[in-house]
Structures are given as C-alpha cells and as structure tokens.
C-alpha cells in the first residue's frame, strides 16, 4: 500500500460514511453539511486521480451549493435544528432494496467488465488540455451548458416569484391536512384570514 492508496481508502470510506449519515441524522443542517463532506472527499479522490482542477472546482462549487441547501433546509423544515428525534421516511423497505440492487448491479459492472487499460500520463498538462477542449472542440457543449444555466435562472425566478402574471403566488394557498386524508383546517393557513383560504379551497 502506497501513501496514495491509504489516502484513497480514507477519503473513500469518509465519502461513503458521510453519504450514509446524510439520511440518518435528525438535523437538516447536519444533513447538508454531511453531504458536503461526502462531496469534499470525492473531490479529494479526484485530485488523487490527477484531475486536480475538477477536484478543486468540485470543492468550490459544492461548498456554495450546500450552504444554499442548508439555508433552504431551515426555511422549509419543521424541525430545522434537529433537537427532537423524528422519522420522516416512507417506503423504507422498497428504498433499501432499490439502493442495494443499484449498488450490486453497478458493482457487478465494475468488477466484471474488462475496461481498457489506458492510465493518464502524470506529466500531462491535463488542466491546459481541459481549457483548450472547453474553448475548442467542446465549445458547443460548454456554451449549451451556459445557456441552459441561464434558462434555469430565468425559470427559477419565474417559479419562485411572489407575484406572477396570474397574480399573487400564494393566492388560494391552503395548508395540507395534519393527517393524510384528513380535513383541511383553515386556521393552519399562512395567508389570508383563514376563511378566505377555505373559500378558494372549495372553488377548485
């Protein structure tokens, strides 16, 4: 075992463990930063694999994304700090089986398939090559990603705007029932004066 091997196993186990803990912790903030830890470890493995730019860029991008995620978590979760233990899962058995099957299937592919043996040259200018590729051969792909991101920004703003061309985004908003299939309780509505929300509810 060389130093690189040891580092790889440390990062790999940390990535898997923190990825698992994401769905096992009570706190949403912890969940988002555990996911970040998983990404950071994968980024470190990418650096070990000589993809230095991708590994470092993954750190950078995922850090900002997970900070945003933590913010959203606390905005929308009923128990953001995770002080009270709670279970918010459904179809646990199906999900576990699907996860195991996915892992087993892909793992089988990894072990059985005979991949070509063409390792990257450690002395190669991989970062320069990536830059030349992005602004050369793959420019159309790269620019399409840019345009798609722009379209995403426009869509996200339209979807989340408080006021749209059809009026107030919260118009007719009603609270979901406490129990599945239960009755709507107007006093739970966040907007309107209770009765107003109920009126709209009936109109649909």
């Amino acid at each position: 075992m060389t130093g690189v091997d040891v580092a790889f196993w440390v990062f790999a186990l940390a990535a898997v463990w923190s990825g698992y803990r994401v769905f096992r912790t009570d706190s949403m903030v912890r969940a988002s930063f555990l996911l970040l830890a998983s990404f950071l470890n994968v980024g470190a493995i990418l650096v070990l694999l000589l993809a230095e730019y991708l590994g470092t860029a993954l750190l950078f991008m995922m850090t900002v994304e997970m900070v945003v995620m933590a913010l959203f978590m606390v905005m929308f979760m009923m128990n953001p700090a995770g002080l009270n233990p709670m279970e918010m899962v459904h179809q646990p058995r199906l999900a576990a089986v699907a996860g195991v099957v996915t892992t087993a299937g892909l793992g089988l592919v990894a072990v059985v398939v005979d991949f070509p043996d063409a390792p990257v040259d450690p002395a190669a200018e991989t970062i320069r090559a990536l830059g030349t590729e992005l602004l050369g051969g793959s420019m159309l792909v790269f620019e399409s990603a840019g345009v798609t991101l722009l379209a995403t920004m426009v869509c996200a703003v339209i979807l989340s705007a408080a006021r749209g061309r059809y009026g107030d985004g919260t118009a007719g908003s009603v609270a979901p029932p406490l129990e599945p299939g239960g009755d709507h309780r107007p006093e739970d509505d966040l907007v309107g004066d209770g009765g107003g929300g109920h009126h709209h509810h009936g109109g649909h």
Partner: protein
C-alpha cells in the same frame, strides 16, 4: 512549480501565521488608540495581545444548553486550517511556496468558500439565538460577494496564462496588476473584509447582535476564534500582495522582505478600515453587491481580457 519539504513547509506556515496574528493584534491596539485619541506606548501595544491571552486563559468557560460541542470546538480549528491552506498556495519568495500548485487560485477560492461554512457552523453550533442569527445573516451576505473574488482572481490569471499564484507574481515583473487591472484589488479587499468579517462588513460578530456568532464563546474558545480570524486576515493580505501588488517584485530589498512588507501593509489597511469605516447595513450591502460590485467584477474581467488580446 516548487515544493518545500513537508516539515519546513508546515513550520513556515505556522511561523508566518503566528507572527501575523500577533502583528494584527498589535496593529489593532495601536489603530484603535489612535482613532480614539488615546496615547498608547509601544510596550503597551506589544503587550496587549499577551494580556488578551492571559485574560482568556483565566476566564471561566461557559456553555449553552445542548450545543453541538464537536462543531463548536472544531469551527475555529477549521477556520484557522483554511487560512493555512489558503496561505499554502501563496509563494512568499521566488521558489518558496509551501505548494505552488497549478490550480492555486481555485484552491484559494475553495478555502474561502469553506470558510463561509466554518463561520456559519460556528454560529449554528452553540444552539443559541444570537449566534444563529449571525450565522444566517453572514451566509446571506457572503453569497452576494463570493463570486467577486473568483472573478478578480481569474482576471489576474489571464495575463499570467496560469492559475498558479507563483506564475501570477512572475507575470507582474513589468507592471503590477493593481495598475493593469485597477478594479481587482479594491474588490478583493471587500471580499477579504467580508470573509474575515471586519469593520464595514462585520455582520457576524457585531455589536448589534451582542457579539453575534461569538456571543456564547468564552475564554479559550473566544481567543481561538479571534486568532483564526486574524490568521485568515493574514492569508488574504498575502494573497492580495502576491496577486495584485507584484508579490516579491521590488527594488533594492530582498524578495522575501518586499513580500512581507506588502503583506503587512495590506493587513494594516484592513485592520485600519475596521476602526474608521462604519458598518454597512447588510440588506443595503447585498443589493449593492449584486447590482454594482458584480458588474464591476465583470468589467475587471473585460479589462484583463482586452489587455491580453
């Protein structure tokens, strides 16, 4: 691309950060005295950091109800570690960098982004209202200037044709980036003030939240947090000196001395700003950052790109 032996490298980073943190504390004492119109002797200023350490060590540690103890203790360590990582990619003299990696500015940007996480978690961990509000407020403000630093660093990389900070310094042999790209340094200093939350951008540990993120810190914990913050200030000062002020380039004096002088100069300006510029209102700053500063960063990129056509 040169690399020091690991032992020397770690010792170098620790030494620079220790001297830097002490220096920041001394300058902070001097500037605050000058601004307030007090007389302060040199000996008194030099002893001030040591006195702060003594006070912190003897103070009784207090805690909150059900905090996340591990994160609370680790947050200052993470913040200081990120300062060390950021400093590690900045060359201090020709050929003397801990690791002048090919992706220098990306590593610096990643350390800066992770510092946001460390600051947020430091506010979140005590499980108390004021630190939590400070952490959230910081994230809201930080997301608005996070992009600036990446853009100005990329602009500096364009004439160097490399993302290594050593190559960026070498590209400034004729003309420093501060003249070639005049928008770069001011924008970078705004980011530095934000990530080390000082002066006008102190939205974290500010007095309007009774100490904010550090409101529940006591004794050594508070000391560690202040030291980590000063360490990050040094890392940003060194990066500003290397990327925008020509790094080790300068007449007569040896290269390392020039680098040290420039770093100390930037650090002094930042510490001084803490005492002479009033804190901005966070919501006004966020609007201003997205609508004015970000377009200015684009302009900086355009200037850098046009100049290297």
């Amino acid at each position: 691309m040169t690399t020091l032996p690991p032992v020397v490298a770690v010792a170098l980073v620790v030494a620079v950060l220790t001297v830097g943190v002490y220096g920041v504390a001394v300058v902070d004492r001097l500037v605050s005295a000058v601004v307030a119109g007090w007389m302060v002797s040199a000996g008194e200023a030099l002893a001030a950091p040591l006195r702060a350490v003594a006070v912190a060590v003897t103070r009784q540690p207090v805690t909150t109800e059900a905090p996340d103890r591990i994160l609370w203790v680790l947050a200052p360590a993470a913040y200081a570690g990120l300062a060390a990582a950021a400093l590690a990619v900045v060359p201090l003299a020709p050929g003397v960098a801990v690791t002048d990696v090919r992706t220098g500015i990306v590593v610096f940007g990643a350390a800066e982004a992770l510092a946001i996480v460390a600051i947020f978690l430091h506010g979140w961990a005590p499980n108390a209202p004021l630190p939590l509000i400070a952490g959230y407020r910081f994230v809201g403000v930080a997301l608005s200037y996070e992009l600036l630093s990446m853009f100005v660093l990329i602009a500096a990389a364009i004439p160097a044709e490399s993302m290594s900070i050593g190559a960026i310094v070498e590209s400034q042999a004729g003309l420093w980036n501060v003249i070639r790209q005049p928008l770069g340094l001011p924008l970078f200093l705004i980011v530095a003030a934000g990530v080390t939350f000082l002066g006008p951008l102190d939205v974290v540990d500010s007095t309007d939240l009774a100490g904010g993120g550090a409101a529940e810190d006591s004794g050594m914990q508070h000391l560690a947090w202040s030291a980590a913050r000063a360490a990050m200030l040094i890392a940003f000062s060194a990066a500003s000196a290397a990327v925008f002020l020509g790094g080790w380039h300068g007449p007569v004096l040896p290269a390392a001395v020039w680098m040290a002088l420039k770093t100390a100069g930037v650090a002094t300006v930042l510490v001084g700003a803490r005492h002479v510029i009033a804190r901005v209102s966070p919501e006004r700053f966020v609007r201003w950052a997205w609508t004015v500063l970000l377009p200015l960063a684009f302009l900086d990129l355009v200037i850098a790109g046009m100049a290297s056509l």
